[in-house]
């Protein structure tokens, strides 16, 4: 059980950049165990004035560092399995949620050079609208652009026969006349606005 706790590699998650998940041993958070040990040591520090106890603290720190190093080793193995032998494009797709990268790449092949695009993606999480500019460059994201990229957007429907895109934004319905330029699947496609 403890081995699973310590050796479980954490799957790379963007929010870990701000706060890493705590380490657990036998289901108990390591933080609490360390504070218990420190409580005892600090009492000894204060009452016995034994500065040598710092050695114990450094040994404890060293052991914790070994645990983290072991965890890193397991992560290397796990990431090697996930990412090893893949092309750069495949890796970009794996590290971008829901095949979003593949869709953007598909869309780019159908867009004229440097043409701005309107993006209809799920509003939550912000991830999709924030990551798109990185992969879509040099295409700018603009709300009134002639080209529309639709990717799993909620409350968005395209009627191919009538050439109408219907956007329901919390009851505020907007209709845009457009025709299909390219389609990856039913929820992922590229449109071009009709001029008249």
């Amino acid at each position: 059980m403890w081995a699973v706790d310590i050796l479980s590699p954490f799957i790379p998650h963007p929010s870990y950049i701000n706060n890493l998940p705590p380490l657990y041993i036998m289901g108990l958070p390591v933080d609490i165990m360390i504070y218990l040990v420190f409580g005892i040591l600090i009492v000894l520090f204060l009452f016995k004035k034994q500065k040598e106890y710092i050695k114990v603290i450094i040994i404890l720190w060293f052991i914790i560092s070994l645990l983290y190093t072991t965890q890193a080793g397991v992560q290397v193995y796990a990431e090697g399995v996930i990412f090893g032998g893949k092309s750069l494009d495949e890796l970009r797709n794996i590290t971008t949620s829901n095949n979003f990268y593949n869709f953007l790449k598909f869309a780019q092949t159908h867009l004229p050079n440097n043409e701005p695009v309107m993006l209809l993606v799920p509003k939550n999480p912000l991830y999709f609208s924030q990551k798109a500019p990185y992969y879509l460059y040099p295409h700018l994201i603009k709300n009134n652009a002639s080209y529309i990229l639709v990717f799993n957007a909620v409350n968005v429907k395209f009627n191919e026969e009538e050439q109408k895109l219907i956007i329901d934004d919390n009851g505020k319905v907007e209709t845009i006349k457009a025709q299909l330029l390219a389609k990856l699947n039913d929820n992922e496609y590229v449109l071009i606005k009709n001029k008249y």
Partner: protein, 465 residues
């Protein structure tokens, strides 16, 4: 040309420039050992190289690997010729011998070196096995790098939608995106996997410089133990693989404070000037660098004016030394600061305007979050606890080794952050837990070496190997 050579060249050129400039700078009385100079070179070269490319962009020169390579190789060559002529009249081109005194050869040290190598390997592997993954990495740094690469320079027209590379936080400094873009330009490939090598490389060079700096005071085994502990600090190794700018800022400031310590112990003004430059370089990576630079100068001025305490360094802290601590870094940063003020880009993370006035008020609601962040061990392991214990219980060692001023400096830097959190709109980033640990990362390397120094020194005096 084989692409591997181009990849190597993209890293080697800034290194070469840094080594050449450092060689000229450290002429005369010996400033660094050969190894120290090697591991400091990339820090110096990366900053000066990227600032030069920024300045050249003002003249609308299109970036191209040929002329950039020729220009910086030429500058490096001139520096080397000058160095050889001035210093080494009996030209001796043998490679300097590695000083084996750096490392006492025994089984424990071998094991420690093996652990360090393994940990470094894991950091490099985790960084380089996948493309840019984290949020700020692509919104801030890598989008800009991509834009600079495809535009063959920095878009400096305010009306350009990709002004300064676009993305979020347009007022962030440009060292990281320029370096990444140079790697793309040099190789001719938009490879957002390899560019992540910058942070692990900086960490590697910092680690060896840290070891070379500290082993002479505390012995090689203890220096190796602390080196291993340092790279095993979870948030440090995570950031090293994540292509963010907070860790590079922390590493530059860590080097700056070590150089400042060398100034206090060896009284050579060049250490002080280089320390100042390192603070300036940190300001060219992220706004936090300039902020910490300003705090350090203010604290030094306050100590100089009050002239109380710090008896053992009083003679070294005069007006001249404060000017030397300020001017080189400020001169380096000046073009960027002028550029920013001309375009009204501001310093705040939350927008182009300063939010100091807009968010005025005391935001005590952040206190529980700050405490929670400080008490969590999952990011910095035992660093804060050990640091506090060493500062409280080892006063004698601190006085003997002139480290009191560093504790004052890092504590004031921490207070500076707290001030920003308490009194400005930045408090929102405390409430959503997005900034405390990353800001602490900018001072963590400095706190670590001071702590390692105090404890290592104490153990050495006690006769522990």
């Amino acid at each position: 040309m084989p692409i591997v050579i181009l990849y190597i060249w993209s890293i080697f050129l800034p290194f070469l420039l840094g080594f050449a400039l450092l060689s000229v700078f450290s002429m005369g009385k010996r400033l660094f050992t050969f190894s120290q100079k090697i591991f400091l070179s990339f820090f110096v070269g990366a900053s000066i190289f990227s600032m030069s490319l920024f300045l050249l962009s003002i003249f609308h020169l299109k970036w191209d690997r040929v002329w950039i390579s020729i220009l910086f190789s030429f500058i490096s060559a001139i520096c080397f010729i000058y160095y050889i002529k001035k210093i080494n009249k009996n030209l001796n081109l043998t490679i300097p011998k590695i000083n084996r005194a750096h490392l006492r050869i025994n089984l424990v040290n071998y094991l420690l070196v093996a652990l360090i190598i393994f940990k470094l390997f894991s950091i490099f592997f985790i960084a380089l096995d996948k493309p840019v993954l984290n949020f700020d990495a692509w919104t801030n740094w890598s989008l800009r790098a991509k834009v600079f690469y495809f535009e063959k320079g920095i878009p400096l027209n305010r009306n350009d939608p990709y002004f300064l590379g676009g993305g979020g936080h347009i007022n962030y400094p440009l060292q990281i995106p320029i370096l990444e873009s140079w790697i793309y330009t040099s190789t001719g490939v938009w490879d957002d996997k390899f560019v992540k090598i910058i942070s692990p490389l900086l960490l590697l060079f910092f680690l060896i410089f840290f070891y070379l700096f500290i082993y002479q005071f505390i012995g090689s085994t203890k220096a190796l133990i602390f080196s291993f502990i340092f790279i095993s600090i979870p948030l440090i190794s995570y950031h090293a693989a994540a292509d963010y700018a907070d860790l590079p800022v922390g590493l530059y400031i860590g080097i700056a404070t070590m150089l400042f310590y060398l100034y206090l112990t060896r009284t050579d003004n060049r250490y002080l000037m280089l320390s100042s430059l390192m603070f300036g370089f940190a300001g060219w990576i992220k706004n936090e660098g300039s902020f910490l630079f300003a705090i350090v100068i203010l604290v030094l001025m306050a100590i100089f004016v009050r002239q109380k305490g710090f008896k053992n360094i009083k003679k070294l802290l005069n007006l001249r030394s404060i000017i030397l601590a300020l001017v080189p870094g400020l001169i380096f940063l000046l073009p960027w600061l002028i550029f920013k003020s001309k375009l009204g880009l501001g310093m705040s993370n939350l927008g182009t305007e300063s939010n100091l006035i807009g968010g005025i008020g005391i935001h005590f609601e952040i206190v529980p979050n700050i405490l929670k962040n400080l008490l969590s061990l999952s990011n910095f392991s035992l660093l804060w606890i050990v640091a506090i214990i060493s500062y409280l219980f080892y006063q004698k060692e601190i006085k003997e080794s002139k480290l009191g001023i560093f504790i004052t400096l890092v504590f004031c830097c921490f207070l500076g952050y707290i001030f920003i959190y308490l009194f400005t709109d930045n408090y929102v980033m405390i409430l959503n837990d997005t900034i405390v640990q990353r800001n602490l990362l900018t001072i963590a390397p400095s706190i670590f070496w001071v702590t390692a120094f105090i404890i290592g020194n104490y153990l050495r005096n006690k006769g522990t190997k």
